[in-house]
């Protein structure tokens, strides 16, 4: 089977003319004669026969390199796996140090740990709420200033003439804000681009995305969101909240900041991937909860995305964090709105109150939910497909930071232009309402005392537009306005998502859906007779259903999205309609293309493990899946060998099976443990060599604390100096290695391996033969490369990105 990959590698020149960029379909039991086979055979004997000897490794790679010729280059596409992503070490390393520490720890110690977990969760919720509050207030103030200035300008020029100047002013304002946002993202922290939900999804899936939970990312994210929302792009500030919450969680739980070089000497026990990831899921939940005022939805979001590492206590703690977060936001916003105690804004987006009288609505709904939700699914799929092509183009051609900044500015300017043109040519005038729902009513050419109703949709922050679509009186929009708005906003939102600015896609989707949902409601009311008008009235409800359908069609989340929508609506009665709509939209959409987040995860070449192995993969066994040969270390290994293995840049391995050679016999070495690169580096740094230990008896014993202190940024091997003498020393790994790594026999089927790997959150799974000899190692990338494509099982390729 592995021949297929070889085909690509060895016959590179012949292959280039063919369809590059396409995944190579796995041919079932392919026995095609290939000229490469003859080449490989001789060497493979050589290789497998001397599996456990480490120094052979380099020889082989150099050998292979010469055979391969120059490395093959292909344009970026979705069927790649990037090398820069690694797994998190979720598995507990039960080495002797760990056991010792556990023995030393008293009963009280464990209780304190439990309590501090709760404290950390409370802090996460509180800080996330504060950040949400900060974003909301700053956006509101800045956008207020911007719209006031532009409005005054427009008013001035409506009278005096020269409206094109207002148009330019608006465009310049937008571009300026977006430029700031795009510069900080493109030049300082590219990982902060987008909504951050794909990245957090990956993190919860067990992938270490570089720099995703750094303080710098948080700062860039928050500022970037403010800039892009104020800059009038078709974006929302809700998605980035989830990322922000996750960063807060990762920072708070560690009790220190590596970026600021401050160590508060607290929560030291939590400095490992296992604990950190639990807290990150709490942070993501707190972010969702602050964004939508949906604490339960937040918990379910974490559950949906990180389901394999879950227990009741963790759920309970995450719920606590969510609750604290939404309450904090609510409390501080009520102070900001000068109504302390009036806790009426639990989330950044507020759908407003929906009355619970759904008698008529429910029966009407039965008749028209299917067209609405199908439309949601189809439009969502269209959105995703367009965005997919656009993203591919961006990755291939618009990859330089300066180009990205320019693109973002152009989008901002065009957004302003399109909005202005729509408002300018709109003839839809509505009288000003008594309660002033419209924050910045624009009169333009309307009669005095009336406002341009296109302007309520465009000349406003998207959150407000959504709310006015949900709640404005029937008749405050005419169908033509809504139709044009839907159309333009759809393309604008599609164009905007994926720019190098941090911004979410939730609100634009809701807005598009609300617009066409309302349109549907209006049309329905106009074609039905007057007698039943009360039944078909209230287009706001259709707007809600449309919004749910569109959002479901784009992001394809299920459980958590339903609960989020229900909670944001504040009315459980709408639960069933929303759920049915989301289900239908997902089914219809999945028929065409995947969800937007999954597309972006794929395009970033992330080795993402789904819930299940691909359906038709039982015939694949661990032997075909695994990487082989494996670089193994002896239990007592020469320092020089270790340094060489670690500094080999061509094979950036992370886990090394430790083998033991039975003394005095020529039997092959047997597996006795597994050790990680990070551990080896700490060992080298502290010079834990057998010879040194003998000479300096009073030397302090290495503890788990030393490993935690180095976490999470272990120094690279190049920064560790090992002298020539030291290279000759020996290192005893017995104490430090994980003595009981998970292993599978080589005949295990792929789904079995997959299940074990996914459920336990493994990083390395050793494949052994019946003699307990290491014959291969399964890592995340080995499993993630199989996926079910249109032509059956396909295999993704590894690439440098």
């Amino acid at each position: 089977m592995a021949n297929i990959t070889k085909k690509v590698s060895w016959s590179s020149r012949a292959d280039e003319s063919g369809a590059t960029g396409e995944g190579t379909p796995l041919l079932n039991g392919s026995e095609q004669p290939r000229h490469s086979r003859q080449l490989s055979e001789g060497r493979s004997i050589f290789q497998i026969g001397r599996l456990s000897t480490v120094d052979l490794e380099e020889e082989i790679t150099s050998d292979e390199d010469s055979l391969r010729g120059r490395p093959k280059e292909i344009p970026h596409n979705e069927k790649l796996l990037s090398l820069k992503f690694e797994s998190l070490d979720y598995d507990n390393i039960e080495n002797q140090l760990f056991l010792e520490e556990e023995r030393r720890m008293s009963y009280m110690g464990f209780r304190c740990l439990e309590i501090s977990r709760w404290v950390v969760c409370g802090l996460i919720g509180f800080l996330t709420g504060l950040i949400a509050c900060f974003i909301d207030i700053v956006v509101e103030e800045l956008a207020g200033i911007k719209y006031q200035v532009v409005k005054q300008n427009i008013e001035k020029f409506t009278e005096a003439g020269g409206l094109s100047i207002s148009l330019i002013l608006w465009a310049v304002f937008n571009s300026a804000f977006v430029m700031v946002g795009a510069i900080i993202v493109a030049y300082f922290e590219p990982i902060a681009a987008g909504s951050g939900i794909p990245q957090i999804k990956c993190y919860l899936n067990g992938i270490k995305i570089p720099r995703v939970v750094r303080l710098k990312t948080l700062v860039v994210k928050v500022c970037g969101v403010i800039c892009s929302v104020v800059g009038g792009l078709a974006v929302g500030k809700e998605g980035p909240m989830i990322h922000s919450g996750a960063v807060v969680a990762a920072g708070v739980s560690q009790g220190r900041s590596t970026s600021l070089k401050r160590d508060f000497k607290i929560f030291e026990y939590f400095r490992r991937d296992t604990e950190k990831r639990d807290f990150v899921s709490a942070g993501a939940a707190a972010g969702v909860s602050a964004a939508f005022g949906a604490p339960v939805g937040g918990v379910l979001f974490s559950l949906e995305e990180g389901a394999s590492f879950w227990n009741q206590m963790l759920t309970w703690r995450i719920f606590f964090a969510s609750m604290i977060s939404t309450f904090t936001l609510n409390f501080f916003l009520s102070i900001y709105h000068n109504k302390p105690g009036d806790l009426s804004s639990p989330g950044l987006i507020n759908f407003g109150r929906f009355e619970s009288d759904v008698r008529n609505f429910l029966c009407v709904f039965i008749f028209c939910f299917s067209p609405l939700s199908c439309a949601g699914g189809i439009l969502g799929a269209l959105f995703n497909v367009l965005n997919y092509w656009l993203t591919i183009f961006r990755i291939r051609y618009v990859h330089r930071p300066c180009l990205q900044v320019m693109e973002a500015m152009l989008v901002a300017a065009v957004t302003a232009t399109v909005s202005f043109t729509m408002i300018y040519f709109s003839n839809d005038c509505q009288p000003l309402g008594p309660e002033h729902n419209e924050e910045y009513p624009l009169q333009l050419f309307c009669a005095d005392g009336e406002y341009n109703s296109m302007a309520t949709a465009f000349f406003n922050t998207p959150e407000r537009s959504v709310r006015s679509l949900f709640h404005n009186q029937p008749g405050s929009y005419n169908p033509l306005t809504l139709g044009l708005f839907t159309l333009t906003y759809f393309f604008l939102a599609c164009w905007t998502y994926g720019l190098a600015v941090s911004a979410g896609v939730f609100i634009p989707s809701l807005l598009i859906g609300a617009a066409w949902g309302r349109l549907f409601g209006i049309l329905l009311a106009s074609i039905t007779s007057n007698a039943t008008v009360s039944i078909w009235a209230d287009p706001g409800k259709y707007a809600l259903i449309g919004a749910a359908a569109q959002l479901g069609g784009i992001v394809r989340m299920t459980l958590s999205l339903t609960v989020i929508m229900v909670e944001a609506t504040g009315n459980v009665t709408y639960g069933l309609p929303i759920m049915l709509v989301l289900m239908t939209a997902k089914i219809v959409g999945d028929y065409f293309v995947e969800g937007l987040y999954d597309i972006h995860i794929k395009l970033q070449s992330v080795p993402f493990l789904h819930w299940e192995a691909p359906a038709t993969s039982h015939w694949l066994t661990a032997r075909e899946v695994m990487s082989s040969p494996v670089t193994c270390l002896n239990r007592i290994e020469k320092v020089g060998t270790i340094v060489d293995v670690l500094s080999n840049t061509s094979t950036n391995h992370n886990g090394f099976p430790v083998v033991v050679q039975v003394a005095g016999s020529d039997e092959p070495a047997k597996l006795c443990g597994l050790i990680l690169r990070s551990q080896l580096i700490v060992l080298l740094k502290h010079k834990v060599f057998v010879e040194l230990a003998r000479s300096r008896l009073n030397q302090r014993k290495l503890q788990l604390k030393d490993f935690r202190d180095a976490y999470p940024r272990f120094p690279p091997i190049q920064s560790i100096h090992v002298s020539q003498d030291e290279r000759e020393c020996m290192m005893d790994l017995t104490e430090f290695m994980n003595p009981t790594p998970y292993t599978v026999p080589q005949e295990t089927s792929l789904p079995r391996v997959f299940k074990l790997f996914r459920a336990l959150g493994l990083r390395h799974l050793v494949v052994v033969d019946d003699q307990n000899r290491v014959i291969g190692l399964v890592t995340r990338k080995d499993l993630a490369r199989y996926h079910l494509g249109k032509h059956g099982l396909e295999e993704l390729q590894l690439a440098h990105t």
Binding site: A2, S44, L167, R396, F420, Y424, F445, E450
Partner: protein, 305 residues
């Protein structure tokens, strides 16, 4: 308004303990038959619409009063005055409905109504050591006097007349008077030019109209608007823009189209140039180490054994 709220709260509080104190069947029996017909007539100020039941209503009450041991003469006198003032106010309101002049015309009658109600609802005891509050306002489930009064208070507060009336309720505020004067000037101007071409009206009355508009927006910001002013302004605006057609024309379509098509053209250039000039990002493929094919593995085992 605070008075109203206050009394409302009080009434509610007392109402809750009422059954315990006045829980004698007689009282309930007396008030019950009178309940039904009046509930309908007093829910909305429908009393106003059809005056015939009105004298009947007061007569009915008066005739039943002597039998009621709880009502003193003083209180029935108060009730009578209340009825008079009520009728006065309502009679004033109806003709002022369109165009709305409810604040200008009726503020004084509302003031007297308010005074008498304050008298009734005060807990100071009148002559004979009786407080009319309990006997008039809270003796029965319907609480008619309170209900009627609160209806009118509702109208008053909805029309926001307090904004146009001075503190004591004696006169209109200076702002309001000034606005009305300016408004009259504008209307006079409209009147003057309304014959013939409207474009002449648009140019000539622009400055008074503009002044009026600015005055109005200033008052809107200070929140000193009442329904009279709002309605007057609305009417004037409608006259100005709809009837006389003096809104701004849409006349600079060409520059707007030019600028926006230029803006829309930019991204096309951008994407084309980056497609043509930017070098395409290539990914270096890496060849994972794999066990050699199954067949070759078999070969190895064959050879090893």
């Amino acid at each position: 308004m605070s008075l109203h709220k206050h009394s409302c709260l009080l009434v509610l509080a007392v109402f809750n303990i009422y059954p315990a104190v006045f829980g004698d069947g007689v009282n309930l029996a007396v008030s019950d038959p009178a309940d039904k017909p009046r509930q309908t007539s007093s829910l909305s100020p429908a009393v106003v619409v059809n005056p015939p039941p009105d004298p009947l209503f007061s007569l009915n009450l008066l005739s039943s009063l002597p039998e009621d041991p709880e009502i003193s003469d003083y209180c029935s006198e108060l009730l009578h005055i209340f009825g008079q003032l009520y009728v006065d106010y309502v009679t004033c309101l109806v003709p002022a409905a369109r165009p709305v002049k409810v604040c200008q015309n009726c503020y004084s009658s509302f003031g007297s109504l308010k005074n008498i109600y304050t008298n009734i609802s005060s807990d100071q005891e009148g002559p004979g050591n009786v407080s009319c509050r309990d006997s008039l306002l809270r003796s029965d489930r319907l609480m008619l006097v309170y209900l009627m009064y609160s209806n009118l208070v509702g109208i008053w507060s909805k029309s926001a007349c307090d904004n146009c009336i001075t503190e004591g309720g004696q006169s209109l505020t200076n702002d309001t008077l000034f606005f009305l004067t300016t408004h009259n000037q504008t209307l006079t101007c409209f009147e003057k030019y309304k014959e013939g071409n409207h474009s002449q009206l648009c140019t000539n009355c622009k400055s008074p109209y503009k002044d009026l508009n600015e005055l109005y927006s200033g008052m809107e910001k200070n929140q000193t608007l009442c329904i009279d002013i709002e309605d007057a302004m609305n009417m004037t605006r409608r006259l100005w823009s709809k009837y006389y057609n003096c809104s701004f024309p849409r006349e600079e379509t060409v520059p707007v189209i030019a600028v926006s098509s230029f803006m829309l053209f930019l991204p096309i250039i951008f994407y084309l140039s980056s497609f043509l000039h930017s070098e395409q990002k290539k990914r270096k493929l890496i060849h994972p180490k794999r066990a050699k094919s199954y067949a070759s593995l078999m070969n190895i085992q064959d050879k090893l054994s």
